[in-house]
């Protein structure tokens, strides 16, 4: 298919996408726990733009996003097989990550190493939940973008 990103380009897109998520979260934490300056706000907006562009180019335009969000009855047997594999890996990764986060938060709060609230807001908890939600929504499509030899649909 002409114009479709190569496997290497898609893998780079996945790396940029998740790096920008971490950047958005890090800048948010610095701003919330420190001071929101104009430079910090500009950096946050730039990181969000990179996040949006990499999401669109790597997962939405290539069709991987729709492949993992389409009713199974509308997929053919190969698409069901690759989607099933991606969802299985995602389930393993996300359940492990969720448990690790749960235990880290529980232990940290128990020994007063971490506060989930700051300035009366639920800042750290909120950004953690948002990042986890984003990961849940995009991880199966990212696995496909990383491993498939072609884009999902033309």
């Amino acid at each position: 298919m002409s114009g479709a990103p190569s496997t290497r380009a898609r893998r780079s897109g996945v790396v940029v996408n998740y790096a920008s998520v971490l950047l958005v979260a890090a800048i948010f934490c610095v701003g919330e726990y420190g001071q929101w300056t104009a430079a910090l706000i500009a950096a946050e907006v730039a990181a969000l733009v990179i996040l949006g562009v990499s999401l669109h180019v790597t997962l939405i335009r290539t069709g991987f996003w729709s492949l993992t969000h389409t009713d199974v009855g509308k997929l053919d047997e190969r698409e069901i097989q690759v989607t099933h594999t991606a969802l299985r890996y995602s389930y393993a990764a996300l359940s492990t990550l969720s448990l690790v986060m749960f235990w880290l938060v529980t232990i940290s709060v128990r020994f007063s190493l971490l506060s989930l609230t700051h300035r009366g807001h639920f800042s750290l908890g909120l950004i953690a939940v948002l990042c986890l939600t984003y990961l849940i929504e995009t991880l199966p499509a990212s696995i496909l973008a990383w491993s498939e030899t072609n884009t999902a649909r033309g």
Binding site: D76, E77, R78, E79, T149, N150, G154
Partner: protein
């Protein structure tokens, strides 16, 4: 269980019948990219899909699919001609 690689003649048969990948895909009920995966032998079809492909070309399944590398069709035809001629 690791499945065996299946060899096939889908690409040459499709071109022989003057079909595009999209046309063949529509006839056998899959996405056109799945036809590409089948032609590159990167995906082994289910028995049902294999039969649908063979029915589309009106050929026996052993002529379209094999567990061993397939000979070029020209050699296959020449060999069958020699056998028929005695």
């Amino acid at each position: 269980m690791e499945s065996r690689k299946l060899y096939n003649r889908i690409a040459v048969l499709r071109k022989d019948r003057g079909l595009s990948r999209k046309e063949l895909a529509d006839r056998i009920g899959v996405n056109y990219q799945t036809v590409g995966y089948l032609e590159r032998e990167e995906y082994n079809p289910s028995l049902d899909l294999a039969f649908r492909i063979c029915e589309q070309f009106d050929l026996p399944v052993e002529f379209v699919f094999s567990t061993r590398p397939l000979r070029p069709m020209s050699l296959e035809i020449a060999n069958r001609g020699e056998k028929a001629g005695g």
